[in-house]
Symmetry: C2
Subunit: 509 residues, 2 copies
C-alpha cells in the first residue's frame, strides 16, 4: 500500500491515509470519517437549546426540578401546535379514524347516533378510501390521483386559475418536497440557490448536504421583513462574480422566522427577476392561512396575472418555473406528526419533472394518511354541510387564539428595553431584535457562545422558555434576534420573558 | 463573462457555459442541468413496466380494454400487500382509529358493546397517546421515547440480549433509515459500500444519489442465494485495488429479490469479515417474519453470540458497528402506506450517532402514526389477552396464504421450460432464472431492450401481470431473471404466466 518517490515514500492519497489510520482505531467509522456535508449542516431548531429544554422537562417530570426557577418548560422553539395543547380539528380526525378502521363504516348507525359522526364525515371517508383503497397500501409515488385532483381544485378556487393534478406532488411535509426539488436542482458544487436571511434552516442545511452554494439575500427588517429585489440582485451579481451558477430563488411567504407577509409588488418583482435571470422560484407557502393582515397572495396567482398582463407582450413570463409548497403542519390544521404536504410544479420541463418523479419513487410514497389530511385541508366542510358549523368554530377559535397571543407577545416586546419587533403579520413566529449591552456580549464571549445563543440559554435557564437564537436563521452582522412561536397556551408566559429580560439587562448594563 | 488567453478567447468553465447556453433556451432548468447523480440513479421497481401496467389498469377501468388479452392487471412488481386485497390486522387498525380520534375513548361503552373494541385495544391506545401526546404533533426526531422502549424490549425478547432505546431510531419505512445511514457513511466519491447482487435497488439508487461507489458482490444462486464470504472478499480486494475506500457491507436477510434466508454460518462469516476489515454492517431485516424454512436469526444475536464466544478472546468483535433495520411494510402487518420502521445502531461511536441525529432532525420526525404501528408490530396482543385470538387467526391466515402462493408459483416455475427457481425460503418474492432462446435475445436487441426487459414486457402485454426484470436488481452477466411477488390473491394468475411462457418459448424457439 505504500509507494516510493525519488525522495522516499510518497504520502498516501488522503482516503487511503484514513484507512491506514483507522487500523489503530477501535471504530471503523469515527467523526472525521463521516460525510463532511452532514458534519457541516446546521439545524438550530432542534439543537443545543432544544435538547437542554427536554432535559429540564424530564427533570420536572421526575419531580426533581424543585430547585429550578420555573415549574414548566415551554417549547416556543418549534411550530408544533398539538404538542402545545392545540386540539385537532374534529372533522379531520373523525374521517381519519374511519380511514384507519373502515370496518366502522359498516356501523353507520352507531357512528351517527352514539358517536356523533355526521353524514359528511362518513361520505368523505368513503371518498378517500375510494382514492387510496387502503391507507396501509403504497400510493403512486407522486401521490394518490384523486387527492391530487382535490388539490388542483383548491388551487383553482384560491387563485382563479386552473391547476393540473399531473403537476402536483404529494410529499411527507413540505420539508420533504424542498429536499426533492433542491436535490434535482443542485447539480454541481458551483450550483447556488438564493435564500432569504433570516430563513428557516431547512434551506441552508439542505444546501450543505447537497454540497451546493448558499447565496444569501437579506430581508428588509425596516419594511416588516419584506423582500427587496435590489438586495436579491446584489446577492446574485456578487455570487455570479465568484463563479456561482445560481439556479433558483427561495421565498418564504408568510415568513419563517420573520412572521412577515409579502405584498403583491414584492412577489411580482421576484417573478420579474426570475424571468429575466431564468431562476426557478421555490415558494414556501406553508403559512398561507396564517395571515393576520390583508389576504394571502400566492406566487402562482401573481405569475398567472403577469402572464396575462401587458408586461408579457414578449412572452417573457411564459417559461417561469415555479414550485410552490404547502403543508398540513401549519395553518389551523397543525397536523405536523402526520407529515403531509404538496408542491405544485408550474412551467417545468417535463423531462425535469420526470427526474423528480424518479427521485421521489426511491422513497416509494408519502404517508398515505398524511395524503388524506392534505385532501381534507384543501377541501374542508363547506357552508351548509353537516360538519361545517363545528369546523368553522374550531378553526376560528384557533385563529383567534394565535392572533391574540401574537399581539400579546408583540406588546410585551415593544415594552422591553432595547427590543424592536415588527408588527405580527402572519406565520407562527415573532423575531424580535435585541440590542445587547456590551457587557452581555463580553459575557457571551467568555462563555464561548454567540451573544444571541447566550441570551436564549439564559432565558431558558431562568424561565424554562425555549426559543431559537437568530444565528440559527441568519441575521445581519452585529444584530441579534431570537425566534419565538406564539403557540403555547395562555399569555402568562409572556410575562416570564419580560421579567427575565429586565433582569438580564440590569445584570449586564 | 469571457476571458482571453494568448490564442484568443478561452473556453468558459463548464458551469458558465451552461448558463450561456441557457440564454438561448426557454427553460432555466432542462434535463442536462439536473443533478447528474439523480439522472444516473435507477429504480426499476417503479419504472417503465410499472407505468405501462398502470396505463392498462386505467384502460380497463374506463371500459376501453376489450381488445386486451386479459381482463385484470396484476401488480406482482412491488411488495404492496394491501393494494392486493390483503386485509389489515384488526387490532392494529382499531388502535389506530382511537389514536386518530381520541374523543372515542370517552365512549368506551359504545366501543365495547356496539363496535367490538376489546379492552386491550383501548388500553393500548391510551398507552400510545401517553407516549406521543397527539399523533398530530412532531415527536422527538429519533422517535417517541416510549415507543423506542417497546422496540428495545422486543429486540431483547427476540435475541435474548438487551437493547438500548437510545440506540433505536424510528424512521419513515426502512428506506428512510437506509438513506440516513448511507448518507452519513458516504463521505467522498471514493467511499464504497458492498451491496449484494441481486439487490433491492434502493441501495444502488442511493449510492448514485450520494455519488459514492457501488461495490457489488454476488450471491450464490446455487446455494439458495446464500452469502458467500469469498465472493465478498474478492469484491472488497478488487475495490481496494482500484482505490475505493470501502466502509460498509449491506446484507438483505431474508433476501429481496431472491427470497433466500441466511444460515447462521453465513451471518457469522460476514460479521467476522466486518470485524477484520472494520466495515459497518447494514443488515436489512425487514422480512424477518416472512420466513418459511427454519427460524429467523438476526445479525444482532449472532454478533452478541460472537462477542461472548471464545473467538472473541482478543476482543476483535467488541467494536463491530451494526445497524439493523425493520419495517411495518412487510411481514404479516403490511402497512406500507403508513411509512414506519426502525433501525438499531449497535457499537457505533456516539459522535457518529450524533451526526445521524442531526441529519434526521432536518426532516423533523418520522410519521407519528407510523411510529405507533411500529410499537404495535413489535408488541402485538399476547396469549390470554382479549384481542389475541383474532390477531393470531388473522396473522396465521396471511402467513399461510403467502406460503401457499409461494409454493404454487414455485411449482409452476419448476414445470416451465428453461426456468430454474430456488426453493422459496422467505420474503415476498421469487426470482426465477429464465434461459432465453437466442431468437428471443435477438428480438429483444431489435426492440432496443435488454432480454429480460423484453421478456417481462411481453409477459405484461400478454397477461396483464407486471413483474420486474432481473436487470433492475442486478444479475450475473449473461443470466436473465425476473422478480415476482406472491401477494396477489388466488393462484389462478400463476397459470397465466405458464401459458405465456410456453407461447413465448414456442415463438422464439
Amino acid at each position: 500500500m505504500s509507494a516510493h518517490g525519488p525522495w522516499g515514500p510518497l504520502p498516501l492519497p488522503a482516503f487511503l491515509q484514513r484507512r491506514a489510520f483507522s487500523k489503530t482505531r477501535t471504530k471503523g467509522l469515527q467523526l472525521d470519517d463521516v460525510n463532511p456535508h452532514v458534519r457541516n449542516a446546521q439545524y438550530a431548531v432542534r439543537g443545543e437549546l432544544a435538547i437542554k429544554s427536554e432535559q429540564y422537562r424530564a427533570q420536572l417530570h421526575r419531580g426533581e426540578g424543585k430547585q429550578l426557577p420555573f415549574d414548566s418548560v415551554i417549547s416556543a422553539n418549534i411550530g408544533n401546535p398539538q404538542q402545545l395543547d392545540q386540539q385537532p380539528i374534529t372533522f379531520f380526525r373523525q374521517v381519519a379514524s374511519l380511514l384507519e378502521n373502515p370496518l366502522l363504516l359498516e356501523k353507520e348507525d352507531v357512528l351517527k347516533n352514539s358517536l356523533g359522526y355526521k353524514p359528511d364525515v362518513i361520505q368523505r371517508a368513503r371518498k378517500l378510501l375510494d382514492d387510496v383503497k387502503s391507507v396501509g397500501a403504497y400510493s403512486q409515488s407522486q401521490g394518490a390521483p384523486g387527492i391530487r385532483q382535490s388539490v388542483a381544485e383548491f388551487i383553482e378556487r384560491r387563485d382563479g386559475y386552473t391547476a393540473d393534478p399531473a403537476n402536483i406532488y404529494l410529499c411527507a411535509g413540505a420539508s420533504s418536497g424542498v429536499n426533492a426539488l433542491m436535490t434535482v436542482i443542485c447539480a454541481t458544487p458551483q450550483t447556488g440557490i438564493l435564500v432569504p436571511i433570516p430563513q428557516y434552516p431547512l434551506y441552508t442545511a439542505t444546501l450543505s448536504l447537497l454540497n451546493a452554494q448558499l447565496v444569501p439575500y437579506y430581508l428588509d427588517e425596516s419594511r416588516n421583513w419584506g423582500t427587496s429585489v435590489e438586495s436579491i440582485k446584489t446577492a446574485l451579481q456578487e455570487a455570479k462574480g465568484r463563479g456561482v451558477d445560481v439556479r433558483a430563488v427561495v421565498v418564504i411567504n408568510p415568513g419563517n422566522p420573520t412572521g412577515g407577509s409579502l405584498i403583491a409588488e414584492d412577489i411580482t418583482a421576484v417573478l420579474e427577476m426570475a424571468a429575466q435571470e431564468k431562476l426557478v422560484v421555490l415558494a414556501d407557502e406553508v403559512y398561507q392561512t396564517n395571515v393576520f393582515e390583508g389576504k394571502f397572495l400566492s406566487f402562482k396567482k401573481c405569475l398567472r396575472d403577469l402572464q396575462k398582463s401587458k408586461k408579457n407582450s414578449d412572452g417573457r413570463f411564459d417559461n417561469v418555473e415555479l414550485a410552490s409548497l404547502h403543508s398540513i403542519s401549519k395553518g389551523m390544521i397543525g397536523e405536523c406528526g402526520h407529515r403531509g404536504g404538496y408542491y405544485e410544479m408550474v412551467g417545468f420541463d417535463p423531462e425535469v419533472v420526470a427526474q423528480i418523479y424518479k427521485f421521489v419513487s426511491i422513497m416509494l410514497c408519502a404517508p398515505v394518511i398524511g395524503q388524506c389530511f392534505v385532501e381534507m385541508m384543501v377541501n374542508p366542510p363547506r357552508e351548509g354541510e353537516p360538519s361545517y358549523q363545528l369546523y368553522k368554530k374550531e378553526y376560528d377559535t384557533i385563529y383567534q387564539n394565535l392572533h391574540d397571543r401574537a399581539r400579546a407577545l408583540y406588546a410585551a416586546f415593544r415594552d422591553m428595553e432595547g427590543v424592536e419587533c415588527q408588527n405580527p403579520q402572519g406565520a407562527m413566529y415573532l423575531f424580535p431584535k435585541v440590542r445587547l449591552p456590551r457587557k452581555a456580549i463580553d459575557a457571551a464571549k467568555k462563555a464561548g457562545k454567540s451573544p444571541d445563543d447566550f441570551y436564549c440559554l439564559e432565558m431558558l435557564d431562568a424561565t424554562g422558555i425555549c426559543t431559537v437564537p437568530g444565528s440559527g436563521f441568519g441575521q445581519e452582522e452585529g444584530t441579534f434576534h431570537f425566534r419565538t412561536t406564539f403557540l403555547a397556551p395562555g399569555v402568562d408566559w409572556v410575562d416570564r420573558i419580560a421579567e427575565f429580560h429586565k433582569k438580564f439587562m440590569d445584570q449586564h448594563r
